[in-house]
Symmetry: C2
Subunit: 529 residues, 2 copies
């Protein structure tokens, strides 16, 4: 059973090792847990629906509660406290494109707002209903989750938009293919959500971001269905796929998604290497990307993230030995861990590995084999579960991410971290960053910050708000995009005009008016009213 | 001096070897040349301008004549016959973004239409002025052709939009960089034109299409400047670059273009290999693309193109020896030539070559070393000059191109060729095709057709029109895009609604109305009135 008030499956949890707790306590003080609301108490508080019963939707409190919030920290605090605020009036579970069209017609006829719901994993407030006169119908695509067609010659798979990561991969694997799209939310997030929010995966270096994987499909809009045929490439005017990618449900609801798939690789392994210092590590990663070494993933942890990861890994004796060895080889205080993957045929992989090793050794890199890489691969989707563990220990954790050109990466990283460290009221904040997507032009920056829950939910939310606002402003004022992989939602919408400009925002509004003249779809998401 | 009535520099010409002429005569009959109009006679026919003199534009007949036509076959026939039809009323040569804005303001104040002119190399009727009440001002960006900034760390170069291929590459080469964008029109076409028409280059397999190279810049529009910042990637809503790419001057005029550049490769070479048959060759190329063998270019000629190229190459004795050798090795009648490139560091190249050779040998490929590949590289921009030579011999030549998914490549190729071979009135047409851009999902198809000039210019144009219409219909009705690399212009605009759909076209019209409410920019291009 999926957790109603947090991440993932109830049966899965990740322990915080003793050293990890001590590490955090030393840095930001002991955590003070806040009490969780019970499911029953929250169910009792779900108000009556403003919508009449209908065969296409459910108005039961349980459905509405389980689709009311995503996974942003404000969502999390709402769920843990039980103060949900607004609930959707009903949840629809369409099974066909025709039913989606019926729902659009009903929304017009009955003056509804619609919220499009994929896996409910948004960390930017995409699916949170707002108070207003229009009843709110959340449209879950969970039942449209099948592989509908596979063109093995063209390597194009057609899926329902609601297929989540495991569903996509297991369907494809049966035919010897993979999509290769692995965001950290992979266990729950969906193909349609990835497309609508321009998602990126851990191995996008090889397989491409969702922009490169999305080949075509159908978007159901209030102006009719937008059918986008598949072509390997085209110069026939602006690309209609780009009106769907990043549209965040504002222009329409995907009913079918065609994606480019790959044959399963013959071989894949992940390596960990420690670089002596951040400047050396940064240069090495840039060089790997710009030399086009065909790696499948790259993740470079800052010195503080490296230290934090080693502390939270458990196994203190082995870690101590590792650090001794690294120190002896020149990677001591300030060392940075780089994890990278090679994926493909063994000959290709050997050539890629050879190139990477040569380049990293020149940068002072110390290789530690594939054990840490295997650990990373095994636990690659576990990180979100740690939020639960930390919460129970009295700590709130959130992440922020952006991307910028190489000439600005170091500057922006330090600005973001500084904006968070100078937290509210002198409260200590533990902040660390990694680069997880390296491009020829620049890199993503992914910053995690951990802070103690305040004395109440309201104060904890206020603490978060101060931090989030400071960091978001810093990002857009210092040459970063407001999101590299999480999307805009409601939380980032105020910052979007800085990067799109007034004219760019107006152009997006023009498209929204074209596809959804009465503004029923995801109001307030992406574009502020 | 650039030719006023054809392709390229007056000082450059490509000879048609005796065997080539005999080859064509045997297939489609002897050519019957039509007389060319003289420059003086055409200059005398340029009507008075409807525009008053202005410091920002020239109204001289010579300027107007030299910016009146592109390089489509109808343009070519207009230039050779001297029947230009409409001339622009003036040609502006802005040198700054401010001057572009002044021109936009003047266009509003004086009720003008504007045509944006890059290198004048359109083969789809992008720059041909139309008759109408509004005076026509052609805006040439030729003087905005400088490298303005180079961020070596982020590998981003900022250029004026009018920089042509040699200008772009020579500026970058001085700093050790390359853009790596080499369309066949490279000698004359411009960066702004590549962006506005979603261009692809011969080595896009390595460097990416212009969509991947275009990082940001400024589009001057009637609604104000659209400034697009550079990010390596972003999930912050729809990508504004995609409103510029393929906009073909309908939304605005580029005043600055930022592109992703690469360090000059340490090594580059091109190989030729002959496959015994088309089906084997097609499978092999698909496999190379889907296995992600890191090649920098791929060009697979059909059996007829292979035969034609060998006939037109001259050196009949050497070619006879080559064919003897190939036949002895199993590549006889029906053989297909594949040219491919490896570009990068020597170790990478060796690994790529090894993979390619293994795969191609399994498909029966016979390698002939790098001599033919070197020949290809030397003459890669010479093909357009051959049109001049063939024209003087009494033949018209045109090309058509599309892209489709692998499962449809063979079907579409045969349909297109059949639509052309069944030419007007039983006139024989020499038709051949190559695949020049291979993707995991599919491939481009590039078809050349040669036919005799008819007894008059009007009849020759009618012959072309019948052929072009038949092939264009075939493309869009059989799963191809109306263009993979040439763009839409006026010639392909009638076919665009088939692939974009009515709703897609309406969305693009909504954007055009947003940026250019009075429809002054390139009217009739991309979107029909």
């Amino acid at each position: 059973m999926r957790r109603w008030n947090g991440w993932g499956e109830e049966s899965t949890s990740v322990a915080l090792p003793e050293q990890g707790a001590a590490f955090l306590a030393a840095r930001i003080g002991a955590g003070r847990p806040l009490p969780d609301a019970s499911l029953d108490s929250v169910l009792a508080r779900v108000p009556a629906s403003r919508l009449p019963p209908h065969p296409l939707w459910a108005t039961a409190a349980d459905d509405r509660l389980r689709h009311a919030r995503g996974q942003s920290l404000p969502d999390w605090l709402a769920m843990r406290s039980g103060d949900f605020g607004v609930f959707p009036d009903a949840v629809a579970y369409p099974e066909t494109a025709t039913q989606i069209r019926e729902l659009l017609a009903l929304a017009s006829a009955q003056d509804l707002s619609l919220i499009v719901y994929g896996g409910g994993t948004s960390v930017a407030g995409h699916i949170t209903p707002q108070a207003g006169d229009r009843p709110v119908l959340t449209v879950s695509l969970a039942r449209m989750n099948r592989l509908l067609e596979l063109d093995q010659s063209s390597q194009i798979a057609t899926f329902g938009p609601g297929a989540n990561g495991p569903q996509v991969e297991s369907e494809l694997r049966a035919h010897g293919f993979t999509l290769g799209h692995f965001p950290q939310s992979w266990e729950l997030s969906t193909l349609g959500g990835w497309v609508a929010s321009r998602s990126s995966g851990q191995q996008s270096l090889r397989y491409g971001r969702i922009e490169q994987l999305f080949a075509g499909g159908t978007l159901e809009t209030f102006a009719g269905p937008l059918q986008i045929p598949t072509f390997p490439a085209s110069s026939a005017g602006p690309d209609l796929r780009e009106m769907v990618l990043g549209s965040e449900g504002r222009f329409g609801i995907l009913s079918e998604v065609k994606v480019r798939v790959s044959r399963l690789p013959a071989q894949e392994h992940f390596h960990a290497v420690f670089l002596p210092s951040w400047p050396q590590a940064l240069d090495a990663v840039r060089e790997l990307a710009q030399a086009r070494v065909p790696l499948s993933m790259l993740r470079l942890s800052s010195a503080i993230e490296t230290e934090t990861q080693l502390a939270l890994a458990g196994h203190p004796r082995q870690i101590a030995w590792l650090e001794k060895y690294l120190g002896w080889r020149g990677a001591a205080q300030g060392k940075c861990m780089l994890t990278f993957g090679v994926t493909g045929n063994p000959r290709q992989n050997a050539a890629s590995l050879q190139q990477a090793k040569k380049l990293l050794r020149q940068a002072g890199g110390v290789f530690t084999g594939t054990l840490l890489g295997r650990k990373w691969a095994q636990s690659r989707f576990r990180f979100p579960y740690l939020r639960e563990t930390l919460w129970q220990a009295g700590y709130a954790v959130d992440t922020l991410e952006t991307a910028t050109d190489w000439s600005n990466v170091d500057h922006l990283l330090h600005r973001i971290e500084a904006s968070l460290r100078g937290g509210p009221g002198g409260e200590p904040i533990h902040v660390f960053t990694h680069l997880s997507h390296a491009y020829g032009e620049g890199s993503s920056l992914y910053t995690t910050y951990v802070f103690r829950a305040a004395g109440s939910y309201a104060d904890t939310l206020a603490r978060w708000h101060t931090l989030k606002q400071a960091a978001s402003r810093t990002i857009v004022e210092h040459g970063g995009t407001i999101s590299h992989q999480h999307g805009v939602g409601r939380d980032h919408a105020p910052y979007l005009p800085v990067e799109k400009g007034a004219l760019g925002i107006a152009a997006l509004q023009a498209l929204a008016s074209h596809f959804d003249p009465e503004r029923r779809l995801n109001p307030g998401v992406l574009l502020q009213p």
